[in-house]
């Protein structure tokens, strides 16, 4: 039942269409997608130093693995296979450092606090909410490579192709570190569960160990060799190793970029599908 359809006494008057005009200082149509991405990325990057607990464990694990692997296998591999095992292991440390670290936990916090809804009520591009966060991941993982590389330098590993080789090395690492968390974001958008996102790191284990983590591919047995052949991490490691020990080798770098592309299409595709489901208003 309705008692009164009209405004009650005390209600502000001046009822006309102009009252619903948009603030003239707003320039939402001037906002480009790139600008939206940068705004979201900047916010995520600003969070990084404020969450050291989300970053430091990801640095300790690769350092630990490098130390253990080199300590236990260096003499054996260098005498039996005649390879520079420190240079062989440094990319493993890098891949361990950059894979799986993401702003996924932060995204879940946004979803659960309602902040993501607040973002959805702004004119920002929905796609920028994902891509901006992934852009922040690129910066994060590029930074994560530096301490591990410093460790490599300390133990005597150098870059065969100088500064450009160094930049390509960091670039490949960061690209890989950017696309892999797409799986994490898909889980985050789908479940909004901190536990599910935390357990997403399990996804990395088959990628990390069913490959040339400990020995070159030609030393793997038939089954593991077959799995390593379809494991994209194999190609990332090969490319990074080639940048440390060889002249420019496009037959190593090319497949790595292709592997990043394939994983990126899959992971970002899943993340976009989950994002679409999250913002569909259904």
């Amino acid at each position: 039942m309705s008692l009164s359809a009209d405004a009650s006494p005390g209600v502000a008057t001046n009822v006309d269409a102009e009252r619903f005009g948009v603030d003239p200082e707003l320039r939402p149509r001037d906002q480009s997608f790139i600008r939206d991405v940068l705004i979201i990325a900047r916010r995520s990057i600003r969070q990084l130093p404020r969450e050291p607990e989300a970053v430091f464990p990801a640095l300790l694990i690769p350092v630990f693995f490098m130390a253990v692997n080199i300590g236990s296998l260096e003499k054996l591999t260098e005498s039996a296979l005649a390879i520079d095992y420190k240079a062989f292991q440094l990319p493993v440390g890098i891949v361990f450092a950059v894979t799986g670290i993401s702003r996924g936990a932060s995204l879940v916090a946004d979803l659960n606090s309602g902040y993501f809804d607040r973002l959805l009520m702004t004119p920002v591009s929905r796609l920028a909410l994902l891509i901006g966060t992934m852009a922040a991941d690129f910066v994060l993982v590029a930074l994560m490579t530096l301490p591990v590389l410093c460790l490599g330098f300390i133990v005597g590993v150098g870059f065969h192709n100088g500064v450009l080789g160094f930049l390509v090395f960091v670039g490949i690492s960061a690209l890989w570190g950017m696309v892999f968390p797409g799986f994490t974001y898909a889980i985050a958008f789908k479940t909004a569960s901190p536990a599910a996102v935390a357990s997403a790191t399990i996804l990395f284990f088959p990628f990390a160990f069913l490959t040339t983590t400990f020995l070159p591919k030609d030393q793997l047995n038939g089954t593991l060799d077959a799995v390593a052949t379809v494991n994209p991490v194999t190609y990332i490691l090969e490319a990074l190793r080639s940048l440390l020990t060889e002249d420019w080798n496009m037959s190593a770098i090319g497949p790595a970029l292709l592997a990043i592309g394939v994983v990126g299409i899959l992971s970002i595709g899943l993340a976009l599908t989950a994002l679409k489901g999250r913002v569909s208003r259904n």
């Binding site: 006309d16 004119p123 208003r281």
Partner: protein, 321 residues
């Protein structure tokens, strides 16, 4: 042309088999503070989320500021601000950073944003904490910041979903003052949901009472209270009132009776005439009368009249003085 700030026609929303809201009709003129009053789970937040373009209706249609929420959500978003039920903040940012980010998202230039943030700094009243991380703020500080963020782009319409839930009385009073200021000084149309009777009574020009997903009545607080034509006699007693409830119901002039522990509420048509009879009847039933008062109907009585049940008990909700 006069267009309502909010117009909902037969609005409905289901989640699978569950009906969240059904056949909701709202017509809220510009400049009004409209309160949606109802218990938890009544459907208040679902209505707000549809009107804020976060959720699609499965039935009917809604227009906000003249724009359809389903087909023109961006036009709606540019004209609304919202502070939803959970305080939508990022604990890792400072209050200032959150406002600055909001300005960027709306394409407000840096100079204008700085000016507005300076203005809103006084509103949020955070002092030095304005530059501290939001995770260190109290509930009241977060809520004030939440509303400041919602108002940064100066929307003509504001949605507040249970804005004072969990706040202490002082923070609640501050929130009420701010809601009144936004409406009176800036002419902002405000739709607020609440489960607090006092809040709806104090703030809203009109109230829609919502229960089980539908608006069961609508009007100004005074109009709604007129639905309950009776007076209420409230008595606090010692003794087992429940055991003698049927005897109490027979007291002359009593139309209905509610006994809750040692509290008796009797609805009577003429309070001044009946209060004496009720007092005598209570004593004759063997109860000791501690005190007895006569009051006019509240919104809770209206809710009871309309739905046959009281609103949820307002646990922990201390009165604002």
């Amino acid at each position: 042309m006069t267009i309502p700030a909010i117009l909902a026609e037969n609005l409905g929303r289901t989640f699978g088999d569950k009906v969240a809201i059904k056949n909701v009709n709202l017509k809220i003129p510009s400049g009004e503070v409209y309160g949606l009053l109802g218990p938890n789970g009544a459907g208040k937040s679902t209505i707000v989320r549809i009107l804020c373009t976060l959720l699609m209706p499965t039935q009917g249609r809604a227009r906000v500021a003249g724009y359809d929420v389903a087909t023109d959500p961006m036009a709606v978003r540019l004209r609304i601000g919202a502070a939803l039920q959970s305080t939508a903040i990022d604990g890792l940012q400072t209050g200032r950073e959150m406002l600055a980010l909001q300005a960027q998202l709306y394409g407000i230039s840096s100079g204008v944003a700085q000016k507005r943030i300076a203005e809103l700094e006084a509103l949020v009243d955070l002092g030095k904490d304005f530059d501290k991380r939001v995770s260190t703020y109290s509930g009241g500080m977060k809520r004030r910041l939440d509303i400041a963020i919602a108002m940064l782009h100066r929307p003509p319409m504001l949605f507040l979903d249970e804005p004072t839930t969990g706040l202490d009385p002082r923070s609640r009073q501050q929130m009420w003052d701010e809601v009144r200021r936004l409406n009176k000084e800036l002419g902002v149309t405000i739709l607020l949901t609440t489960q607090y009777l006092e809040e709806a009574d104090s703030l809203a020009h009109r109230i829609g009472i919502i229960n089980d997903g539908g608006v069961v009545s609508e009007g100004s607080p005074r109009e709604l209270k007129r639905l309950v034509r009776d007076d209420i006699v409230v008595a606090n007693v010692q003794g087992d009132a429940v055991a003698v409830e049927s005897r109490l119901a027979d007291i002359r002039g009593v139309k209905s009776l509610t006994v809750t522990g040692d509290r008796i509420e009797a609805r009577v048509s003429d309070g001044a005439q009946a209060i004496g009879s009720v007092a005598i009847g209570i004593q004759q039933a063997g109860l000791t009368l501690n005190d007895i008062t006569l009051r006019t109907p509240t919104l809770d009585d209206v809710f009871m009249e309309l739905t046959g049940a009281h609103m949820n008990k307002e646990v922990g909700h201390e009165p604002v003085r």
